[in-house]
């Protein structure tokens, strides 16, 4: 293996090491410490000038107390569960909306496609925060949506949407749908149209060709899209705190409270570590499954 290859090969690993693994280890370390009234607000802190003795002493002070604490209060598992539920349902809705859009885009005339693509990306030109804020104006009691529905005569009384979980779903689906559309669109455009022709030649109906060829071949795009929506939605803080009500339980809000209201960085660290585990397990299972299938093919 020449030097150039090793270099190219190592870039993603250095990236992961510096920007994912190292910060994770720092958070893990904080989650094993104890709260303190100091700068920074936890103890022990590692002082490398103390040499090996200080290093050993440092490790002897770490413990899993914060993790057992999380297990002792129902608030935490209820918040994790509620976050997983909100993220799952939002991902499903995004898929239901995103797939037809991506399919339509991929089947649109070639010269339209750049414009359609631009339209999907266009919302990103406005700050995420401003878009969520403007949803407040749309969803509130006397907001545009309610006024429109009242004008149409569909409803007699304004609907209470803002400050409920409904608003959180609307916010997440609206914000993350482009992340579902783009990877699916990418796989659909690469789809070999001759496969569909062959299927129809062999007597397959258009619907069953869709289910037997288009959907399986766009699987990688669907999975990538689902991950891109599910992962940020799970830890989402801005949307539930601006659009949700006080009864909306999400782990991002719990994390904020631990960090800011309780000033308890160690417990906040433990909450974050468990959140990461929840995210990593499905990803690892998926990768294993993929590998097995690859081996089976060989």
């Amino acid at each position: 293996m020449n030097f150039r290859r090793i270099f190219l090969f190592s870039i993603p690993y250095i990236w992961l090491l510096a920007l994912f693994l190292a910060p994770f280890l720092i958070v893990l370390k904080i989650s094993l410490s104890d709260i303190a009234l100091a700068i920074p607000p936890y103890t022990p802190t590692l002082d490398l000038s103390g040499g090996w003795v200080a290093f050993k002493d440092f490790f002897s002070q770490l413990d899993f107390e914060n993790f057992t604490f999380l297990a002792s209060d129902s608030l935490y598992w209820k918040s994790y569960l509620s976050s997983v539920q909100i993220a799952c349902i939002s991902t499903f809705i995004c898929l239901m909306i995103g797939f037809p859009i991506a399919y339509g885009m991929a089947n649109a005339p070639q010269e339209w496609q750049p414009t359609l693509m631009l339209l999907v990306i266009l919302p990103f030109w406005t700050s995420f925060l401003i878009r969520v804020y403007s949803l407040i104006g749309i969803l509130s009691q006397d907001g545009i949506l309610n006024q429109f529905l009242l004008w149409l005569g569909i409803i007699g009384e304004p609907l209470v949407i803002l400050n409920t979980n409904w608003a959180v779903y609307i916010g997440i689906v609206y914000t993350y749908c482009p992340f579902m559309i783009l990877p699916i669109y990418a796989t659909l455009t690469k789809l070999d149209a001759s496969l569909l022709e062959a299927a129809e030649d062999l007597g397959c109906s258009r619907t069953s060709a869709f289910w037997q060829i288009t959907v399986p071949l766009s699987k990688s795009g669907i999975i990538a899209g689902c991950f891109l929506v599910f992962i940020p939605a799970l830890g989402e803080f801005v949307i539930p705190s601006l659009l949700g009500g006080s009864s909306t339980l999400m782990i991002g809000k719990v994390l904020f409270e631990e960090f800011f209201a309780n000033r308890d960085w160690p417990v906040a660290g433990a909450v974050a570590v468990i959140l990461l585990l929840i995210l990593i397990i499905p990803i690892v299972l998926y990768q294993r499954n993929e590998q097995k299938m690859m081996e089976a093919k060989k």
């Binding site: 607000p41 006080s246 960090f259 209201a261 000033r263």
Partner: protein, 362 residues
């Protein structure tokens, strides 16, 4: 020759850039909390370049300070937060030889802020106020009758009143450190109690009125009250007075009144202090001295409708500030006001958890 010349110019540019860096003063204050003309006035008078940044919660400020290296020269925490941050070693002692205007401070306020910062070793008072009740007078008297207890905690803690008020909308501050002491005061307990059994008594009271509270939020009530969207807000004095003025300006027929509850109200203080790692402590002292100038302090109070801790500024205050008992309470009301001290980590966790349970039912 040219080479030497250009390198001298280059070095001079670098040096002046560095000097410009050293001559900056970075101030981190609450949002909507100063007359912005004062900022340019400070720059003109002192020659420093002022970088003025704002926050909207003590928690955000505290987290920046405790993380270290905030880069600010002057910050403005409230009393209880200040006290805890002093204990954590977040501030440097003031050099009073650099603060010629120190003598302008008001002893009535200083006596109270000494609880948080004995002898004002680390901080000076910027402004202070109370936590109380703002009402839309017409709507509340329409619902509860002419003798509605608008100056009593019973208005917001008696479920019988709250059930009726729910139809016109009630907001509470989303700040357990303000609401829990008020609940204890209403129950006749010590509002500054750190006893978990005493604190727990607040929960059934808060839970009983929970169904009638439209929202827990610490900033939206200003416009909601002014627009007539809600009729009662449990909030901070100056914010409610700002909403009163907004309604008056809009001339929308909404009349807002603020009262510090007759049972006693929480009195809070926002203190200016200098972080231990401030890049420019000399500039920070210059800013504090500028703020303690009676004329400047009066300009700020006349603009934001909060009382200040500067006795010398009082003759310069406008009549609708100094003469308003909602801003400068009379001696009798002043006696009923109470102050609180910080919770330790264990009590804080208990209170935050209770607050989450009250709000979300979980």
């Amino acid at each position: 020759m040219n080479y030497t010349k250009s390198s001298i110019v280059f070095a001079a540019v670098i040096m002046s850039a560095q000097m410009a860096w050293a001559e900056e003063v970075r101030v981190y204050n609450w949002s909507d909390y100063i007359d912005e003309d004062l900022l340019s006035k400070f720059e003109e008078e002192s020659g420093y370049k002022l970088i003025y940044d704002v926050f909207d919660s003590n928690e955000v400020l505290e987290t920046k300070l405790l993380a270290g290296g905030s880069g600010y020269d002057v910050v403005v925490p409230s009393g209880t937060f200040l006290q805890r941050q002093i204990m954590a070693g977040a501030f440097q002692k003031l050099d009073k030889s650099m603060l010629s205007n120190m003598g302008n401070l008001w002893d009535v306020v200083q006596d109270r802020t000494d609880t948080y910062d004995p002898d004002g070793a680390y901080s000076i008072n910027y402004m202070w106020g109370t936590t109380g009740i703002g009402v839309n007078v017409a709507k509340v008297t329409e619902i509860l009758g002419e003798d509605a207890p608008i100056d009593s905690l019973a208005l917001v803690f008696d479920p019988a009143n709250m059930e009726k008020l729910a139809e016109c909308g009630v907001y509470f501050l989303d700040a357990p450190g303000e609401i829990v002491p008020a609940a204890l005061q209403y129950l006749g307990e010590d509002p500054d109690s750190k006893d978990l059994d005493v604190l727990a008594k607040a929960e059934p009271l808060l839970a009983a009125v929970r169904p009638y509270v439209l929202k827990y939020n610490s900033s939206e009530y200003i416009s909601a009250l002014a627009n007539g969207d809600i009729c009662v807000a449990f909030g901070w004095s100056g914010d409610i007075l700002q909403s009163r003025d907004r309604a008056a300006e809009a001339d929308n027929g909404v009349e807002i009144a603020y009262s510090a509850p007759s049972e006693g109200a929480l009195m809070w203080f926002d203190q200016m202090a200098i972080p231990v790692d401030a890049p420019n402590p000399t500039g920070a002292h210059a800013f504090l001295d500028f703020i303690m100038d009676p004329e400047n302090m009066a300009t700020a109070s006349n603009y934001v409708y909060y009382a200040n801790g500067n006795l010398a500024s009082q003759p310069l205050l406008e009549e609708d500030v100094i003469g308003d008992t909602a801003i400068y309470p009379d001696a009798k009301t002043l006696e009923t006001l109470y102050i609180t001290t910080p919770y330790d980590a264990k009590v804080q966790r208990f209170v935050t958890r209770m607050w989450t349970r009250v709000k979300s039912g979980t």
